[in-house]
């Protein structure tokens, strides 16, 4: 046996030799986390400033101060009424979607799950499609679109919850399967609606699904913003459970975690966040899948850092994608979902292949 083992366990047990090292590695971890957060914050602030200044009306960074002081100018209106709400909505939607992705990947222990896997987006889209097909948004007002989207997603959440996880001893994979099946049913129903309606309605439905951060109703923007922040807080409160769940449900229980309760709460939080985002901003794909994976490669799989950094990363990503969507074919605007899909997929493939390369070299 090796030399280390030859020492009596009693000696090691009582010894103080490890204290110094333990302090060091604890500090190292927390300092690393601090650096990650600072960098991500800086990126977020940078992207917000970029998004404020770039567009049809261009400003420089130095103009901003003057514009804010002159509250009657056209520039001020552009900033406060158009660009700023858009940035806030982007921040909230990007953050929420990637947060929901992290949470769902955590509770299902499946890297391919994303916020839309469980059919929440399908339900929202179905709700909106019904509204458009029956012309409810024309008779009752434009608020019917986000409202019906939210109702649609709520119905799906209830279905998945009651069919999948209400029982005390639920199987997490069954729950996933039920979600996927409900998602298929919702999308088939929507295809049925789309194939029977007029081409004008079809155009509106497709355009809504592609998603946009253009939301004139400030109340809605505020709601999404506060919802996303409270989602982050609640998820962080459960970071201990999420961390333990990385070992599986049974082993998390062995560590004293009430896994049933934690999974239920986290599921509801993640799906409500997704439902709210989809009903306001449409189906903006890829954020919930790609951002969590990218950040996991960088910051590691500890949920205490992963939750916050995914939120910040998702926000930054959506704001930057929105800048591209607004400017690339200006004065027209591309649907943001097009950009998130393309850029996200491409960047992710590059990151993944590089990280594989790196591990091979080491």
């Amino acid at each position: 046996m090796n030399r280390e083992r030859k020492r009596s366990l009693k000696y090691i047990y009582r010894s103080q030799i490890t204290i110094h090292h333990s302090l060091e590695s604890m500090k190292k971890k927390y300092i690393n986390w601090g650096i990650y957060l600072l960098v991500l914050m800086a990126l977020l602030v940078g992207s917000v400033l970029l998004s404020l200044t770039v567009g049809e009306v261009k400003f420089t960074l130095f103009d901003l101060r003057e514009i804010i002081q002159n509250k009657d100018g056209l520039e001020y209106t552009v900033l406060s009424k158009i660009r700023f709400p858009r940035i806030i909505l982007g921040l909230a939607v990007g953050g929420s979607l990637s947060l929901a992705g992290v949470i769902l990947q955590g509770i299902y222990r499946n890297p391919l799950v994303e916020p839309y896997t469980l059919g929440i987006s399908g339900g929202a889209a179905l709700g909106v499609a019904i509204t458009i097909v029956f012309g409810l948004h024309l008779t009752l007002g434009a608020f019917m679109l986000p409202l019906s989207g939210f109702v649609g997603s709520l119905v799906i959440i209830f279905l998945v919850y009651f069919l999948g996880i209400r029982r005390s001893n639920f199987n997490i994979n069954n729950m996933l399967l039920i979600g996927v099946m409900i998602s298929f049913m919702a999308s088939s129903t929507m295809m049925f609606l789309m194939s029977t309606t007029t081409s004008e309605n079809l155009h509106s439905i497709v355009f809504w699904i592609m998603g946009s951060l253009d939301e004139p109703n400030l109340m809605l923007v505020k709601t999404v913003f506060y919802a996303s922040l409270s989602g982050l807080v609640i998820a962080f409160l459960f970071s201990r459970s999420l961390n333990a769940l990385r070992l599986g449900q049974a082993r998390a229980k062995h560590l004293g975690i009430n896994t049933g309760f934690a999974i239920r709460v986290l599921f509801v939080v993640a799906s409500l966040l997704t439902g709210i985002c989809v009903s306001v901003a449409g189906v903006i794909g890829f954020v919930g899948l790609v951002i969590p994976h990218m950040l996991r490669l960088i910051v590691g799989s500890d949920f205490r850092i992963l939750l916050i950094s995914s939120f910040l990363g998702g926000s930054t990503f959506i704001i930057l994608c929105d800048v591209v969507a607004r400017t690339i074919i200006s004065p027209n605007e591309l649907p943001i979902g097009v950009i998130t899909g393309m850029v996200g997929g491409l960047v992710f493939i590059i990151v993944l292949s590089r990280s594989k390369l790196k591990s091979k070299i080491q």
Binding site: N2, E4, R5, S8, L9, K10, I12, Y13, S15, I17, T18, I19, H21, S22, L23, S25, M26, Y30, F236, L237, S239, R240, N243, A244, R246, L247, G248, A250, R251, K253, H254, L255, G256, I257, N258, R296, G300, S301, D302, R304
Partner: protein
Amino acid sequence: MLDNISFEIEKGSFTGVIGPNGSGKTTLFKGLTGELKIQASEMVLNQTDYFSINLRQKAQRLAIVTQNTEVTDITVEDYVLMGRIPYRSNFQFFESQQDYDIAHKYMNLTNVYRFKDKLMSELSGGEQQLAAIARALTQEPELLLLDEATSHLDIMHQVEILNLIQQLNEELNLTVLMIIHDLNLASEYCDYLVMMNKGGIYTKGKPEDVLNYQNIEQVYKTVVYTRENPMSKKPAIFLVSRKVQDRVKKQV
């Protein structure tokens, strides 16, 4: 379903649970860890009523090492630190220095400190089990449960881990309850054996009393030959193939 299970283990003892597949060993453990509900009349852990404590308090008092450690992208250090989870309140999000000290102490003890920055998935099966034992010790339990923790390992790692457990049991006075399939290892390492069959306890006692060929043939429906191990004076069990059995029968 288990029925009529009643046994006591002394503090600081090393007890083995043996029995064929499906005899209820793992179910017994699931009851102990709180995974399954128990309808027992009485269960006492070190003078505390077992039904009066919640999952987290249970995790502070007993730790379990299972056959396979879930392989994930966690560093060994973070994995071992998870043993401190039961000690952190809901609103304590970060490990204290004390948590780190305890984790490092047991990583040294189990000799996995040298892998502390490696990922769990990069370790071999034996090293993963050592890390799992470090994690379980970091829970600072009164009772350590081992559920076939060595079944899939080669003899070197089996013996290494069991020696470590024995040493922990003797030097730190840790109470160990272990499910083990290998009857020879059970005989060699345990002071006390509980033999289970068909959801109940068949017999219990010292290895010399439990591991005789009558009991083993009755419970495992297998013909064996037992002798005393000349070195340790504990019973040793030999399996006999059917061909040899037939030959012996013919000679008789």
